[in-house]
């Protein structure tokens, strides 16, 4: 019998309270991540990908954001499946860090400036498993070596400001992994790094994931990164998933106009001068994303969509199954496919 997936999000809706109104930042999110698999969550700024990731961890801004509907089924180390949205704060705390690790976007600020990095890596271990100081520090030093930092014993005694951005991100990854989580949530872990370091960090994450058979939820806006790291992808637009499926298939034959637009607006290496000579500009998706406070009726992408027709503006299209394991939120996907 196959084990249940590590993470299964069903109909998740997260509301933000702005003034007296509750506004859905993400709505109708369904995601499944089995063990050992990486799901990439892509979308532009404000599409709700980070909110989705933080909803899983229940780390939304206090009193501002709250999970309004849906459930987040999580299967932990003990094999028990629980709904994270129903856990009390104490139980949730023991899940964070121990069962689910998280890597943040900014390695510059996500480390405490007044402690050595070794102590910071050791900290979750001491909090969760009550390991002694020296034992936790030994584990930390071993892990610093595993994330590819030379001379770990010395590095462990250094402070964050003494390390480069890439090294700091390796440290935060080590911190997220120190308790051996079954799920790693990476919220744009490579965005703040330059391209060569990005590639190294992605390679590191892939290697660690393979070794530990972790599931990974990878949030990014970089389609190149998605192709590098993920098996499956979910494209988000204005708080909803608009298309999901295996990365290769989605990229080869997108079924939603937004995905098509995204892929079209990617620059290709070596094409720049040819395009300039031909007087072609890099294509982009016209318009800007609607504000979540002021959503158009019907399909949210319709105002920017070249395929939009009257039926699109009536109601939000369902996430229709377009092929095996593939779904798209567009009522005209058949015409697009053709």
């Amino acid at each position: 019998m196959s084990a249940s997936p590590v993470l299964k999000i069903e109909g998740l809706r997260t509301d933000f309270r702005i003034g007296r109104h509750a506004i859905s930042a993400v709505d109708d999110i369904d995601l499944v991540i089995p063990a050992g698999e990486t799901l990439a969550l892509v979308g532009e700024s404000g599409s709700g990908k980070s909110v989705t990731a933080r909803s899983v961890m229940r780390l939304l801004p206090r009193k501002l954001g709250m999970i309004a509907a849906g459930s987040v089924w999580f299967t932990g180390k003990d094999g028990q499946t629980r709904d994270l949205t129903k856990l009390d704060e104490d139980a949730m705390r023991s899940v964070r860090g121990r069962e689910i690790g998280m890597v943040f976007q900014e390695p510059m600020t996500s480390l405490n400036p007044v402690f050595t990095v070794g102590e910071q890596i050791a900290e979750p271990l001491r909090v969760h498993s009550g390991a002694t100081h020296s034992a936790a520090l030994r584990t930390a030093i071993e892990l610093i070596g595993r994330v590819g930092i030379p001379d770990p014993a010395k590095r462990a005694q250094q402070y964050p400001h003494e390390l480069s951005g890439g090294m700091r991100q390796r440290i935060t990854i080590a911190m997220a992994l120190v308790c051996d989580p079954v799920l790693l949530i990476a919220d744009e872990p490579t965005t703040a790094l330059d391209v060569t370091i990005q590639a190294e960090i992605l390679e590191l994450l892939r290697k660690l994931q393979r070794e530990r058979k972790m599931a990974m939820l990878f949030v990014t806006h970089n389609l190149g990164v998605v192709a590098e790291i993920a098996q499956r992808v979910a494209v988000m637009y204005a708080g909803r998933i608009v298309e999901t499926g295996p990365v290769a298939e989605v990229f080869a034959a997108p079924r939603h106009p937004y995905t098509i637009g995204l892929l079209h607006s990617l620059p290709r290496l070596g094409q720049g001068s040819a395009m300039r000579r031909a007087g072609v500009r890099l294509p982009s998706i016209p318009g800007v994303m609607a504000s979540i406070a002021d959503m158009p009726k019907g399909c949210q992408f319709a105002p920017r969509c070249g395929f939009a027709a009257d039926p699109c503006r009536v109601e939000i299209p369902p996430l229709a199954e377009v092929a095996a394991q593939r779904r798209a939120r567009c009522i005209r996907w058949r015409e697009i496919a053709a």
Binding site: M57, L59, R93, S94, V95, R96, G97, R98, G101, M102, F104, E106, T109, S110, L111, N112, P113, V114, F115, T116, E123, P124, V127, H128, Q157, Q158, Y159, E162, T172, M175, A176
Partner: protein, 292 residues
Amino acid sequence: MLALSRKTASPLARAAGRFVHNRAALFGLALLIPALLILLSYPVWLADAPNDIDLLALNGEPSWRHLFGTDGVGRDVLSRTLEGGRISLLVSVCSVALSTAVGFIVGAVSAFGGRWADAIAMRTVDLVMTLPPAIFLLVIASIAGAGIWSTVFVIALLSWPVLSRMVRARLFELRERDFVLASRGMGAGMWHLLFRHGLPNSIDILVVYATLQVANAILLEAGLSFLGLGIPPPTASWGNMLNGARSTVVLEQFPWEWLFPGGALVLAVLAINFIGDGLRDAFDPRAELGGS
């Protein structure tokens, strides 16, 4: 490789490095440390106890027998000045420890306790800050009575509000920092956040505040004792020594009776303020941007 061989320095060690390059602060330290040693060791090497009476030398001027002279009832001014220093130190350090703890806790409750706790704590701070210190001191001191511990209590009660404001501001800032979010992401609870992240990152505020407040508390204690509401005689304190010397005759004819305790008071406050200023500069995050 050369760059890597540089010795690793903690933020605290770097602040200490900046501190020792501050001349005024070093001067303060050079004044304070010997003074402390003398204060703490005087019963060992000084023959006269602060309340011993030498009937052969009433209002005696400084001599080899009594280096700082004697007062109107023949007590040795040197040993009383040193004893007064001990009392001042005891009162100021205890009251500052108390007010720092209260200030930090109120600031923490304000920052982490939610909107209502914040409102209540901050309005209480406003209230305490509006109390005129002199009158408030007199009222409390007359209720609590004179004595070392009631003086400690009165001084502490008056001096925590400013600190709690500063701590609250710092914790608010920290609360939004990524490493606190990351720590919550690792499963840290509120106490952990407060004492592992909040306290170490506010240590600069606390140290500077506490140092400057020690000087302030010494002055307050002297003031209270001078008014007869602090340390009751015959226990020596700089304030009640000055009080005992305030008649015109003493002022004009026996200047050593007020010169030495007054001078000690000025020097102590000055030295501690120099050190406090040095610490403030040393902890200033902008300090490393300028200069070498």
